[in-house]
Structures are given as structure tokens and as C-alpha cells.
Symmetry: C2
Subunit: 348 residues, 2 copies
DNA sequence: CTGTTAGCGCGTTCAC
DNA sequence: GTGAACGCGCTAACAG
């Protein structure tokens, strides 16, 4: 592996000149510049980012810590983040926490060890612990899918309140009255907000909520399946189910299938998280689509700004609009076309 | 940010002792060790991986370069890779080439600059260029989803031949005779192998192939849609379509929908790439499932071995078995159950 | 416009 | 068992 010294010798100049010629910083005569470039090319010289980072205190690495990559939402977010970062000459250091705070912490340590310039955090169990660590380290951070708890830290997420409202309104509008809500982990920001929107729609419609139908749980299919099975035993049965995530919807649908309950004939189903390919292959599940690419792009852009701008200014919160995509599972009468209803109204 | 010097001062020892105490290499009395540990904890000391890497010539970074992350196959692969790497104390540097050789090359440069210990490569347009670069740099590499072209480089992929054969056999068994094959980019290894398997099934069944029904194209939905539309204009019409990827299937289904052709009544459809969530929500598309997690795990494991073992030995080729999941789109008569047919027979 | 020099933070001899 | 000194490869001052 060629070093800057090798290039310098070959070009007959000093290492400092090579550095200037290749990086464009400082002066170098065109003639020398060309000679250096040629020498570098001949030797297949690739500057050592470790040494450079050690000196400049910028690693050109940004961390991305997500709970899951298999979840299409985060896959799309990750791809968008990667695109923005690479456009700015940075690379993405990936971490998958599997929703485990311990793993999350370990990744954070590794990332900090590599002296990441900033980090995008979709926190496992609430942003507190991770964010505190990052804050203490003085590393710019943007929180995805949760609220920012510390000042100077930005946050980006979808309009969960609006999404919850859209789903409830849609089902209420179709005549459903006993609508179960399979929520995610109680206490998590998205769960709280989605439920708030759900409740708001009921209040607006003047329909009372049966509190026994509001079920928090894990963001996970098997748990949702069990909750749904229990739900089906209740009398009177719910006439609709809202799932707080795609995985929860999967579990619910499985339980309904197990019980021989037909969707939407016997019970309507609608969900958060639209899975792009799934709908393409067979448009079945009515869902609120999150703008995953926009979330990733906004978060990455804000982070790069913070990194460039010496991390000043108060924390910003960005809430991006969601849209409802109506399909068969909610029992809507579709004439071959799926309806797409935006949620433009701002959520308080 | 605390450095090793700060820790040394606080513990009243030299930096060399701190290094030994924390890394467990060399000797340090238990008493001193504890004092150093405490000092490090107090200061929130995080060793600088840049400096360490500069010295040790190991960055504990592995590169992962995939064409797409939105494609669930690669999302699963990436997550598996990440899991294996982190278990070995390494981190993943992510790159998304968007199937563009130029971007791929740029990423490779960035990764090499960061002195990655090794790289996992799902090459954009054939592995040649990228692999050559990596080889020249002397960095261990494993190729995913393609054949290895250089010695000393490993390759992992699914049994494409077996998958193509399974899909064709299934449809032939259901009585289809004019089966179109919407393939990916001509010349790419997966495309070639999948088509070979397809043809093998016809040969075994003694059914002639109408060459006009074998259509290479891009690994992409829109292109597949156009190819399918053209296909439908032909007479006699095909009675089945095999798509060489999920995206191609999406395009084909869209075109069939546009033309008012019913699946599977008018035409049967089967595809490569099983999308996990899609099938959970509504089991529609008959598909050959690739063992994405196993691919990622095998590739990452092989890479870590190479990194540990001084990169010796000839290149290994690993081909992992696929399985056929029969669902409605191929017109199979399912009594509520999806069949799962393995392809255990080894592909030559 | 270019060269010399001094670290960035760490791991590692080699004395002691 | 521990410390002093060096250098990994690079860039930022400063001199010339």
C-alpha cells in the first residue's frame, strides 16, 4: 500500500506538497499538481483515512443505528441516509440494535471509538440513555422515530397522530364501531402518538371507546398474534382492528386466519406501515404509509448541517405527513382502484 | 474527549501501562489494572480507533457493498452480515451502488481509504472490475450473488439453477406449456444460471422451448412491465410467466393488471425472491425463496475467517439451497395451505 | 509557491 | 512489572 511519502518521492516533491496538490487546499503550481496526480495514479495511492482523521479530527463517518434492517421502513431510511451521506463524501457505519438497549450501547461505543462525525439514532427503548451518551461525547445527533429529549439534538418522525386519526376515521366512516387498537410498546413515543390520533378521531365522531380494545404490546408479530387471539374470544367481538405497525398487522392477520375469521367480511383490518412490494404484488392491506425516504433524507441532511455548522442552535423537530392507502382489508368498495388520502392537516 | 494520556495521569501510570491494562496484552499487576480501569471509566475514555488502526493496521471495519438496500433480499443479507461482524468486534461500512459501476468504484475507494479489513461485494455489473481493485489492494473479499473470478476470493450465492428448475417444473407440472421467462440482465451470473435451470426442466420434461418467450432485460419493474405488455400481444399467448426477481414479478403483475388478464385464471405467475412480509399479509405469489440470512451469514463468516487467517487458500464457492413456496398465483389447488418444496438435489 | 517540522492518539519494542 | 521513546500516515503551521 502506497503512502503519501511514496508519492512524494516519485513526484520529486515533499509530502506536504502532495497533500496540497491532491486535496486542493493551499497552493500548488499546475505543473507540480499534474506530476503529483500522475505519481499517485501510477502507484494506486489511496489516502489513509485513519491518519487523516487523526489529524483533522473528522472521520467522514456517520453512524446509523436502527432497531431492524429487515423492517422495510428502516431499509428505506438507511438507503436514503446512505445516499445523502455519500453525496457529502461521508460513509455510513451501520448498527442494528435489534431493539436491545445493551446492543445499542455497545454499538454506540464502537461508533464513538471510530470518532464518527455524527450519528442517526432510531432508539431502542426510548432515546434517553443513548442520547445522553452521545450528548456527553459532544457528537451531533439526530433522533429518528422518536422525540428529542435533549436540547441541541434534532428529531425527525412521521405524523403519528395524523396517521392514527386517519385509520380510525376511515374505519369509523365505514361504519365500524368496536375498533380494536393493537399498539406497540406502551410508553414509546410512536405508540403514544398513534393512540392519541386514534382517540382523537373517536372524540371527533362522538363515538365512545371501549378501553378493553386498546392493547399495548411488543412491536412484533407473535405477540400481536396472541393478543388478537385473546381479542377474538371477547364478546361482543370487535368489528375492526387497527395495527400500530406492519409486523403487528402480520400477527393479527395470522391469528384471524387461524380462527377462520374472514377479512374484511367478518372483521376489517388496517395498519401503520405500508410495505411497498407487498402492495404491488397484491393490494390487500389498507395502511398508513410513512414517508420513509423523506424521513431518512431529512434526518441525514439535518445531521450533515450540524456537522458542518459546528453543531449550534436549538433542537429542531420535524414531523412529516403520512398518507392513507385504502385497499381491500378494510372492506372499502374499490372499483379496481386504491384510494390515497393525504393527511395534510397539521398535527398539533 | 479523553485520551490515553489523560487516563495515564489520573491513574498515576504511563500510557504504555494503560494500553496493556485495558487491552489485556502484556503484563500489569491486578492492582494497577483496577486503578486504570477505574480512571478510564471516570473519564468516559473511549479508545481512538483511528489511532489504533493506524498503529495496528487493522481498522475493525468491513465493507458491505450492495446494489440496493430496499430490496428485501439485501436488507436481510445486510442484517446478517452486521450480526456476524459485530459478534467479532467489527463494524460494517455500508455502501449502496444502485447497480451503478461508477458508484461502486467510488465506494470502494472510500472503503479502501478507511483501510477496511475486508469487503463483501454484491457486484453491480459483474464482479470483474470491483474484484480486481480489491485484489490489487490486497484486501480479503467475498462475492455475494455472483461467481468469483479471481483466485483467493470466495463467493456465496443461492442455487439459481435449482431455483429456475423448480419454477419451471412446477408450472410444467400444472400443465403450462408456453411459459415465458422474464429474465434479468443478460450476461449476469444469476440470470444465466436461472435460465439454465429453467431450460433444464424443459429438457427433462421433453417440452420444446419457444425462444421468443425467453426475454432478458433489466432487474427492474418498469422494464418488466413493458416486456410483459409486449408479450401479451403475441399469439398464441403464454399460459404462464416466470419472473427472475421480485421486482420483475411486480412489473409483470402490473402489466397483467393493466391488460385485464386474471392471475392465475388466465395466466399463471411464479417468481424468484420471496418477500417475507408480503406473503404474511396475503399469500399470493408463488416464489422461490432464497436463504438470504444464510447467504449473509456464510459470506460474513468466510470473510472473517479470511481476515483472521492471513487470507490464504484458494477461493471457495458456496451455493445455498433454495425452496419453492407454492401459492395462489400459479393456480395450484391449495386447501388453505401453502406447499413448500425444497431443492435439495445439488446443482452441478 | 514549496519544504521542514511537529504532532494527532495509540501500541510496541527495549531498557530498567 | 513498568516507563521512555518511537513511529504508523497525514495535515497544519511556519519558514523560506
Amino acid at each position: 500500500v502506497a503512502t503519501i511519502r511514496d508519492v512524494a518521492e516519485r513526484a520529486g516533491v515533499s509530502t506536504a506538497t502532495v497533500s496540497r496538490a491532491l486535496n486542493g487546499r493551499g497552493y500548488a503550481s499546475p505543473e507540480v499538481r499534474d506530476r503529483v496526480r500522475a505519481a499517485a495514479a501510477d502507484l494506486g495511492y489511496v489516502p489513509n483515512a485513519l491518519a487523516r482523521g487523526l489529524k483533522t479530527r473528522r472521520s467522514r463517518l456517520v453512524g446509523l443505528l436502527v432497531p431492524e434492517l429487515v423492517d422495510p421502513l428502516y431499509a428505506v431510511v438507511a438507503q436514503a441516509v446512505e445516499r445523502v451521506a455519500s453525496a457529502e463524501g461521508s460513509q455510513v457505519l451501520l448498527g442494528v440494535s435489534l431493539d436491545d438497549p445493551a446492543r445499542e450501547g455497545a454499538y454506540l461505543d464502537l461508533m464513538l471509538a471510530h470518532r464518527i462525525d455524527g450519528v442517526l439514532l432510531a432508539p431502542a427503548h426510548g432515546p434517553e440513555s443513548a442520547v445522553r451518551r452521545v450528548e456527553a461525547a459532544g457528537v451531533p445527533a439526530v433522533v429518528i422515530d422518536d422525540a428529542a429529549t435533549a436540547s441541541g439534538i434534532d428529531a425527525v418522525r412521521a405524523d403519528n397522530v395524523g396517521g392514527g386519526r386517519l385509520l380510525a376515521e376511515h374505519l369509523l366512516g365505514r361504519g365500524c364501531r368496536r375498533i380494536a387498537f393493537l399498539n406497540g410498546r406502551a410508553g414509546s413515543t410512536p405508540a403514544r402518538e398513534r393512540e392519541a390520533g386514534f382517540r382523537r378521531a373517536f372524540a371527533a365522531a362522538g363515538v365512545p371507546i371501549d378501553e378493553r380494545l386498546i392493547l399495548p404490546g411488543r412491536w412484533e408479530a407473535d405477540d400481536a398474534r396472541q393478543r388478537t387471539a385473546a381479542l377474538l374470544a371477547a364478546r361482543p367481538r370487535p368489528d375492526a382492528v387497527v395495527a400500530a405497525s406492519a409486523l403487528i398487522a402480520v400477527g393479527a392477520l395470522r391469528a384471524l386466519g387461524d380462527a377462520g375469521v374472514r377479512v374484511p367480511d367478518d372483521i376489517a383490518v388496517a395498519s401503520f406501515d405500508d410495505l411497498p412490494f407487498a402492495a404491488d404484488i397484491d393490494p390487500f392491506l389498507t395502511a398508513v404509509a410513512q414517508p420513509a425516504a423523506a424521513i431518512g433524507e431529512a434526518a441525514a441532511t439535518m445531521l450533515m448541517e450540524r456537522i458542518a455548522g459546528a453543531a449550534a442552535g436549538p433542537g429542531r423537530e420535524v414531523v412529516l405527513p403520512v398518507s392513507l392507502v385504502v385497499r381491500r382489508s378494510s372492506g372499502a368498495d374499490l372499483s379496481g382502484q386504491a384510494a390515497d388520502v393525504g393527511a395534510d392537516r397539521a398535527a398539533p
